[in-house]
């Protein structure tokens, strides 16, 4: 997402776009503490909706979807979700407060029997962002982790993705809105619109994100 947005933002007419990149929860915390960026985009719909309820964000607009995959080193023998429950498996996932972490836990809760618990018991690190998960995998510290498919694409030389059954897939939807009190609400609305219909929409599609 970062690369795609960086590419298309430089083409935005009407204003210079500055991207502040961090975990969705960290950005939400900043807005709650009074920070006023013009636009807020998150990797889930929950955080924007919460902010909207708190009166801090306009009605959020869904602009992209993605899917969760299992990322493993290229030479791993993991083929399916059940393999993650094996004894001795070391997993890195997102922490609960981060979208990737909550999506992961949502997925695991959909597994039959105690599979989800067994997999959770193999977790060795709750990373604050996807970069951290990918880092643990490329370093060989963890055997597998849950990330977005677009993140595996970025390091396809070292990692490969194990697709998940469609019925387990959580609804990974990115949403954005205009921050209340933004300095340039007009430009902000244009930017948000451009995420679904404009240069940024194209860039996102090229990066592997699907339309909502």
């Amino acid at each position: 997402m970062t690369d795609a947005l960086e590419d298309c933002s430089s083409d935005f007419e009407g204003a210079d776009v500055r991207l502040s990149l961090a975990g969705s929860d960290e950005l939400a915390a900043q807005i709650r503490q009074g920070a006023k960026p013009d636009v807020y985009a998150a990797a889930n719909t929950t955080l924007p909706e919460e902010l909207n309820k708190e009166g801090l964000l306009s009605e959020p607009v869904e602009f992209a979807t993605s899917e969760l995959v299992i990322a493993v080193p290229r030479d791993s023998d993991v083929r399916q979700v059940a393999d993650l429950g094996r004894r001795g498996m070391k997993l890195a996932i997102g922490s609960e407060s981060v979208p990737i972490g909550s999506y992961t836990r949502e997925l695991l809760s959909r597994l039959p029997g105690h599979q989800g618990d067994r997999i959770l018991a193999n977790v060795r690190s709750n990373e604050p962002d996807v970069k951290g998960i990918v880092g643990k995998l490329t370093q060989g510290a963890a055997d597998a982790g849950f990330v977005y498919v677009t993140d595996v694409n970025a390091v396809s030389a070292r990692l490969r993705a194990v697709k998940l059954p469609a019925d387990l897939e959580p609804d990974v939807t990115y949403a954005a809105g205009v921050v209340k009190g933004a300095k340039r609400p007009h430009d902000a609305r244009d930017f948000v619109r451009g995420l679904t219909d404009g240069r940024c929409a194209d860039a996102l599609a090229r990066a592997g994100f699907e339309a909502p």
């Binding site: 975990g23 969705s24 929860d25 960290e26 939400a28 915390a29 709650r32 503490q33 955080l47 070391k90 890195a92 922490s95 609960e96 407060s97 981060v98 977790v123 060795r124 690190s125 709750n126 990373e127 604050p128 951290g132 880092g135 643990k136 490329t138 370093q139 060989g140 510290a141 963890a142």
Partner: protein, 264 residues
């Protein structure tokens, strides 16, 4: 020239305000009752206990290995000395992220010594041991540097006197040099302690973040930032209190001399 003293006072007032308001805010942003309540969260207590344990272990390593090393560097001259001193001080100026990368490249699972570490049956990545390694790496230069200065400042004739009075060099080191250098050693320990307690980047990259195993207080603060600001505040407050207590006790025990004031 009454204007000049007034300007000096103004500068101090600005500096003081800038430095103390954020710290005071930690305690004031939420009520004490809520802060204490948040500390009761299992994640919070685990983080505190882990931070204390890991810091204590790191500090023990630093003191045991760093003190004789600093003594050697302070009292002997050899050709490679400037290089050795620079190497010892290097982690001081490394950004924590770089320290994390360095540790991964060295003793991480894919690191140059990773195989040897694993063969020895030692697990660092994603383990408390890894946290201790990260803390030791970033905090040791803070101690070694102070210890070197402290030993170098001790009158060398004291050691000569000790030897002529019948004590071997080792005995002299323990009974004379270390006690004579104690204010500086204590200051160095305090600095290293502060650095280790606050260490974040290298720990996250090298050891990961897992409650009770690797999630130290700074990592817990970061994890709780978005969803549980109260607990983040509470943990921050505890760290501030501990750091203040450390600084204060060093000053009280060893006077102004220990932390850069004029000899008292």
């Amino acid at each position: 020239m009454r204007a000049f003293p007034a300007l000096l006072a103004l500068a101090l007032a600005v500096a003081l305000t800038f430095l103390t308001v954020p710290i005071v805010a930690i305690f004031v942003d939420s009520s004490p009752a809520e802060l204490i309540d948040s500390l009761g969260e299992p994640g919070a207590l685990d983080a505190l206990w882990l931070s204390l344990r890991a810091t204590a272990m790191a500090l023990a390593l630093i003191l045991i290995v760093g003190t004789p090393a600093a003594y050697l560097l302070a009292t002997r001259s050899f050709r490679a000395k400037p290089v050795v001193v620079t190497l010892v001080e290097l982690p001081l100026v490394l950004p924590p992220a770089v320290a994390g990368i360095a540790l991964l490249a060295a003793v991480g699972p894919s690191g140059i010594l990773g195989g040897a570490v694993a063969a020895a049956g030692i697990e660092l990545s994603l383990q408390t041991a890894g946290v201790v390694v990260a803390l030791t790496f970033v905090a040791s230069p803070f101690y070694v540097r102070q210890a070197m200065a402290a030993f170098a400042a001790v009158d060398r004739t004291l050691l000569d006197a000790s030897r002529t009075l019948g004590a071997s060099e080792a005995r002299g080191f323990v009974r004379v040099m270390v006690p004579a250098a104690l204010p500086g050693l204590t200051a160095g320990t305090a600095l290293a302690l502060g650095r280790a307690l606050g260490e974040f980047g290298a720990t996250l990259m090298f050891a990961g973040s897992f409650q009770g195993i690797t999630q130290t207080v700074p990592l817990a603060i970061y994890a709780k930032l978005g969803t549980d600001f109260e607990t983040a505040l509470a943990l921050s407050a505890v760290l501030v209190a501990i750091s203040a207590a450390i600084l204060l006790s060093v000053k009280l025990v060893h006077g102004r001399e220990a932390l850069g004031g004029a000899p008292g």
